[in-house]
Symmetry: C2
Subunit: 163 residues, 2 copies
């Protein structure tokens, strides 16, 4: 891959940091998801889609624009939209200019759910994430996360730049 040949394996400390990091991130992800499911009956993915649509001009987006907005692969979005459509949160409508794909629109119900959910969403982030950290830790976390994303975009997947 890179220039280097075989380099050293991570130290015990580095491995411990990795484990702590990945463990914490999965736990908080699950906790937020569980809280959102419990309080509002939606998943973080649902929330992201509703947010993107609610903020879009005319509250409608082409599938691919929506995929870019939430940073997902097409097929993932397609599956997710199918589930959300089944629940009445979004709908697909013919698009005048190019009938290869449909516009995705948020329903009245979807908009209602989105507005109701925002408070829960914010409260969960505050209670489980922000309140867990000092301001300095929060900054450090953001900085390190940005470094990881940049590094992944350079090293790993060129498409991972998202947004």
């Amino acid at each position: 891959m890179a220039d280097a040949r075989r380099r050293s394996t991570p130290t015990a400390g580095e491995l411990a940091a990795w484990r702590e990091y990945i463990e914490a991130s999965e736990r908080i992800r699950r906790a937020i998801a569980a809280g959102l499911a419990d309080q509002e009956g939606i998943s973080p993915g649902d929330y992201g889609v509703l947010l993107a649509l609610a903020e879009a001009p005319d509250r409608r987006l082409r599938s691919s624009a929506l995929a870019d907005a939430v940073g997902w692969e097409r097929s993932r979005l397609s599956h997710h939209l199918a589930r959300m459509e089944r629940r009445g949160l979004i709908a697909r409508e013919e698009c005048g200019t190019d009938s290869r794909g449909a516009d995705v629109v948020i329903t009245a119900e979807g908009l209602h759910v989105f507005r109701r959910s925002s408070a829960s969403h914010f409260a969960l982030i505050r209670d489980l994430f922000v309140d867990a950290l000092t301001p300095a830790q929060l900054d450090a976390l953001q900085e390190a996360s940005a470094a990881i994303r940049t590094h992944l975009a350079e090293q790993g997947a060129p498409d991972a730049i998202a947004g």
Copy 2:
């Protein structure tokens, strides 16, 4: 707790930190999983199970002990073991002392896969995670992650203490 402002919604900066954090963690998780799948044909979950079994006395564990070791729910482990058994990585054997459940053992094939995978696993962690960060960032990340875990254990799920 006395601070009333703590009840307000997260600030824009706090939200941005959250988004950066969760985005980075999901991306790196996927990248590691993809690399491991690509190079060794296993998932991080497979690796964790194989590791726990390889390190266990006699290379065997009761299901519940294994669940504790990897920090998973029972049913998740049960499903995962079914898939791993199908692939010949582990096997279930009768347990002498209590035949309600079986011992989980690692097969020769599983042990082989585990040993082969370790190098890839370490290299991926080094390339995608450790190399992305300065030593100070790594430390800060570990510390913040630990704070999140502690906080979740206190606030969220009392059972989340895991391992």
